[in-house]
């Protein structure tokens, strides 16, 4: 085999082989542990949940919990997002007034907020059937926590038809909500279990549902155990999703390489014809 052909064979195999790396990572390495990337974002993918902490673009999602429906495992449907932008502890904004450091172990993300006269930890613990967000400090603190979803169709049995303006609901440790999603035909259920009864819970209507739940409490520790699921309604159609990219990239590499080889072969044929005519 000529050197040119050997080099081409090597390079073509090299390109195609490398294109499988995202797929290998996705199937063998990505599941079941916290992964850090970008400029300080972390994510966790389990069988049922995808959790993003610290969106790389704007620092939102602290955390943003998604559910992977059993009928469409590659889809990530937003379940609930904890917002630091709109949450306060002792009157200080969590996003702007605290210095944040993040450390990950395989199952727990430990986020430390160092602020005025207070060091607060936010632990995000993963288990197969739920995501637990714990806010903990050595001192008692007063917190206003906001959790967002666009949108929840009902919360603890209250639907948008019953409420026209923000509503304070009876203090409880259990919040159950329903939702649907534009990208998948299905009905979703979400559940947030708190470790203590908060002083106030308020739900906020927005257009055709509720987009936010706010929880106020005074304590040295509060946990929010979030779980959810989605049931199919009708026959779900095929939907494109970012998590399908690892499957597509090998196809792209093979296609581009095949085009290169075909064009190269065509070019050589033309050249040979021209040479033989010239002779």
């Amino acid at each position: 085999m000529k050197l040119r052909n050997r080099l081409t064979l090597f390079f073509v195999i090299y390109i195609i082989a490398l294109s499988f790396i995202p797929l290998l990572h996705d199937t063998l390495l990505a599941q079941g542990k916290w992964l850090g990337y970008g400029t300080g974002a972390y994510q966790y993918q389990s069988q049922s949940y995808f959790v993003l902490f610290n969106d790389p673009y704007d620092g939102s999602s602290k955390p943003h919990i998604h559910v992977n429906p059993s009928f469409a495992p590659a889809s990530r449907i937003s379940l609930i997002e904890f917002s630091d932008w709109t949450s306060w502890v002792n009157g200080y904004n969590l996003f702007n007034d605290f210095n944040v450091t993040m450390r990950a172990s395989p199952q727990t993300l430990d986020v430390t907020y160092s602020g005025p006269e207070l060091v607060l930890h936010k632990y995000i613990e993963m288990s197969p059937d739920a995501v637990k967000v714990i806010m903990q400090s050595e001192k008692e603190f007063a917190a206003h926590v906001e959790m967002w979803r666009w949108v929840m169709t009902s919360i603890n049995g209250i639907s948008i038809k019953d409420v026209a303006k923000p509503l304070v609901i009876a203090p409880t440790t259990l919040l159950e909500f329903t939702f649907s999603d534009d990208s998948l035909p299905g009905l979703g259920h979400g559940r947030i279990v708190m470790s203590a009864v908060p002083s106030q819970i308020e739900i906020w209507p927005y257009e055709n549902g509720f987009n936010k739940i706010t929880v106020d409490f005074v304590n040295s520790m509060m946990s929010f155990t979030v779980s959810g699921s989605m049931e199919a309604v009708g026959t779900p159609s095929l939907e494109w999703n970012y998590s399908l990219l690892p499957y597509v990239l090998p196809v792209v590499s093979v296609t581009v390489v095949a085009l290169y080889l075909l064009v190269g072969r065509y070019g050589r044929t033309i050249k040979n014809r021209a040479t033989s005519r010239g002779n």
């Binding site: 490398l18 990219l245 690892p246 990239l249």
Partner: protein
């Protein structure tokens, strides 16, 4: 040449890549204040690593210390007109800059003048060889975009690499000096073994080359003494431990959101690069003309270097134009890639930031762009273009290798490209340039013996 300069001057004040121009601006400000730019970048990196617990780096000034001295004088001139108040605040990804008017356009123009001058000098030098090639460089949309729209300074690397090649057969000191200057973007370091191999046993030329090269290293030595940890972290640890990607076959890694894994995988191209460089230098280093061997090494770097940014091709574009085996239309791939990686309106911030209405349009457009990104729609064409560009580079590399192995170049070179490098007279060129821009009245005295007269393509 005047038309090319006019186009650049007209575009320069109104466009920029906020992150890259912001870095040059921020560094120029610091240099004028006598601050240590490497300490600043290192401190930011440490802060990011402490916050995130990840091996992330602040993407600030990570270039040869000499580079900023090409820009700082123009910033100083700007301050004479506009004062020392801030003009561009922040702008490092993912933040958007705050721009202060009416000074932003003037600042952009001043900071791009070194790039425009470098472009014009490249055009001038190429014109002495072949006017058609000079025109290609002068009016290539890709070259114009990188220089005066983006505000990236690879044209300086292109100029110094070209001068290093052209002076190599006549003046090794200058060749080493220009090569050292080309290292202001560190990727041309891969050419150092080639120069060493070619000059091996030519001790006089070798010493002269090293002496010229050493002069350019003096600022590095200074910073190594003053703040060794900072400069090592910024120039070596950052570039050595960088995540692979760019306009190449490695940008698939952007899909894999696992930084420690990504960094481990990023070592693969390094290994292949070392093997490829060793092969090319041993096989072709000494017995192939410098132009072709330089391009072979740079092509290998473009194939196996782990980071190939959109602007890197500018650095070897003039050399590619001088090489008959290379297809200069390669620029199309990185040019397309620019608009897949960064939305076109991102380069228009100096225009969009002039009005709240335009700013509103920006936010709307950016919302759509973010949705496209989040869905992964842009990643597919980016990867396709990256692979296609790598394959086209590979095709060019094979063409140069085929020509050199067949003895076509070495025979022809003596009467063509090589002859140009041998007859290139830097002093004469400077005199001619001075004549052209009106600094001398002795135009006729030099034009009579100009090598341009003897070029077939000029007739």
């Amino acid at each position: 040449m005047l038309l090319a300069a006019a186009i650049r001057l007209a575009i320069a004040p109104f466009f920029m890549h906020a992150g890259d121009v912001g870095t040059i601006y921020e560094s120029s400000v610091m240099v004028l204040k006598g601050a240590n730019i490497f300490d600043f970048v290192y401190a930011k990196t440490m802060q990011m690593q402490t916050t995130t617990g990840l091996p992330v780096f602040f993407e600030g000034y990570a270039y040869h210390p000499l580079l900023i001295y090409f820009f700082a004088p123009f910033y100083w001139l700007f301050t004479l007109i506009a004062g020392q108040g801030p003009v561009m605040i922040d702008g490092h990804y993912p933040s958007l800059p705050v721009l202060i008017y009416p000074w932003t356009p003037l600042l952009l123009l001043m900071l791009k003048i070194p790039i425009i001058l470098a472009d014009m000098l490249v055009v001038y030098i190429l014109a002495a060889k072949d006017l058609r090639k000079a025109k290609i460089y002068a009016f290539c949309p890709y070259v114009i975009f990188i220089g005066v729209v983006w505000g990236m300074f690879d044209a300086l690397v292109a100029l110094f690499l070209l001068l290093s090649y052209l002076t190599s057969s006549r003046n090794s000191f200058l060749s080493g000096f220009f090569y050292g200057l080309s290292l202001m973007k560190l990727y041309t370091i891969v050419l150092l073994p080639l120069y060493v191999v070619r000059l091996f046993r030519k001790w006089k030329a070798f010493s002269a080359f090293l002496a010229g090269f050493a002069v350019t290293l003096l600022p590095v030595v200074y910073y190594l003494i003053v703040s060794p940890v900072s400069i090592w972290n910024v120039l070596v640890t950052f570039h050595g431990g960088r995540l692979m990607g760019g306009v190449n076959l490695y940008n698939f890694i952007w899909v894999v959101q696992d930084l420690p894994f990504d960094l481990a995988v990023s070592m693969i191209p390094n290994i292949v690069l070392v093997v490829a460089l060793l092969y090319l230098i041993v096989r072709f280093g000494r017995n192939v003309p410098l132009l072709q061997s330089t391009l072979m090494i740079m092509f290998a770097y473009f194939l196996f270097g782990k980071v190939i940014n959109e602007q890197f091709l500018v650095a070897i574009f003039p050399l590619m134009l001088l090489c008959k085996e290379c297809d200069h239309r390669l620029w199309v791939a990185p040019f397309v890639f620019i608009f897949l990686r960064s939305p076109f309106y991102y380069f228009m911030l100096p225009i969009l930031w002039t009005s709240p209405v335009f700013y509103g349009y920006y936010l709307q457009a950016d919302d759509v762009w973010r949705q496209l990104q989040a869905a992964g729609y842009l990643q597919i064409p980016m990867y396709a273009v990256g692979v296609a560009f790598s394959l086209l580079i590979f095709w060019n590399l094979l063409r140069v290798m085929d020509a050199t192995r067949g003895g076509i170049i070495s025979a022809r070179q003596a009467t063509d490209d090589g002859a140009y490098s041998k007859t290139f007279d830097l002093r004469g060129s400077i005199r001619r340039l001075a004549t052209m821009i009106g600094l001398s009245r002795v135009r006729s005295a030099f034009s009579a013996c100009s090598p341009r007269r003897s070029m077939p393509s000029q007739r």
